[in-house]
Symmetry: C2
Subunit: 199 residues, 2 copies
């Protein structure tokens, strides 16, 4: 890479720090940014700056927000009796795109991962418990990821909330719409059988 | 995406314009840039700005350069009797990394692609011919990509240079080191046979 100059190397290095972007991809992206119009390249630089200058976490639910409250917490039309607990803002976004839930959210900003040293203190569990204590929720929906760490986090939080007379639920598990039974693995089929629903 | 705010959407849009970055990847990259330290995110923004502010094309060979001449054209230790013609600065970089060539380069900034409306005028062919006319080269090496458009470009340029008593060569073609003969396709084997070398 010594055939090139410092600015290009620096850009390749910085791009290479992005997740899923290896050395070759970083070079390709850097050359793309050199080839497009200056306006387009600088628009990306500006978007990165703006997002870091303007965006922080909602003071209530820890979703991303441009002010002290996120759009969902500011929305007067949401159902404030339901609270959905997710790991990350992008999980919230995925659920919103499904378009079936109109309640509130709480973003943990991670999941319990003892092997990585991530305990309850690094997440927003205390604010969640406090929020449930003061709030008037009738149902808490655990929407952590369906894996060991997500399930563990949901279980831990459910225990923390056991003092409140509130129903705690979790997302349904089963076969996915559009999948093929014979290619579905046994864990998924076991979930689908044990959680079978009346039709 | 209406659950989120303008800055995040703008960043996702801008990242989604990068080659090979779809909507989902753009979202993932945006959340990465929101999660890392502010310094790291801004370093990427700065690298993009810097590269577009500082980097332009070498006035001699059209490689990327931070001044009017690129590092290779500035280097007094290069062999000025050889000229290697490549399509893009990244091709030049790949050849330099191979570490066997110490001559000069000329970057076409593209290849002839009549179907896309890219003709000789959009490339740096005129400056190349002028450079060869005034220069003292003993060999021109065509290192365009080994595909229809690269080969066509090399052929066109070879014709343009036919008035000069200079040897024009192209990169060797054949089987690749480390490959397996039985899995090598017939075009490659044909190249390898017709270009067979004495041992």
């Amino acid at each position: 890479m010594n055939t090139n100059n410092g600015s290009v190397n620096e850009l390749i290095d910085q791009l290479g720090r992005l997740p899923g972007v290896g050395r070759k991809s970083a070079e390709r992206l850097a050359y793309h940014l050199l080839r497009v119009s200056k306006g387009e390249a600088l628009a990306l630089a500006k978007a990165i700056r703006d997002v870091r200058e303007n965006v922080s976490y909602c003071s209530v639910c820890y979703n991303l927000a441009e002010g002290s409250l996120c759009e969902i917490c500011r929305d007067p039309n949401r159902d404030t009796s339901k609270l959905c607990v997710v790991e990350q803002p992008r999980d919230l976004m995925a659920l919103e795109q499904a378009g079936v839930y109109r309640g509130m959210y709480h973003v943990l900003l991670g999941r319990l991962a003892p092997l990585e040293g991530i305990g309850p203190d690094q997440l927003t569990i205390d604010p969640l418990v406090e929020r449930v204590r003061r709030g008037n929720f009738s149902e808490i929906i655990m929407a952590t990821n369906p894996n060991v760490e997500g399930d563990g986090s949901a279980l831990y939080i459910t225990n923390q909330l056991s003092e409140f007379p509130i129903e705690v639920t979790r997302l349904a598990r089963g076969i996915t719409t559009g999948s093929v039974l014979e290619h579905t693995n046994r864990e998924i089929l076991a979930d689908a059988l044990s959680g079978r629903q009346k039709i």
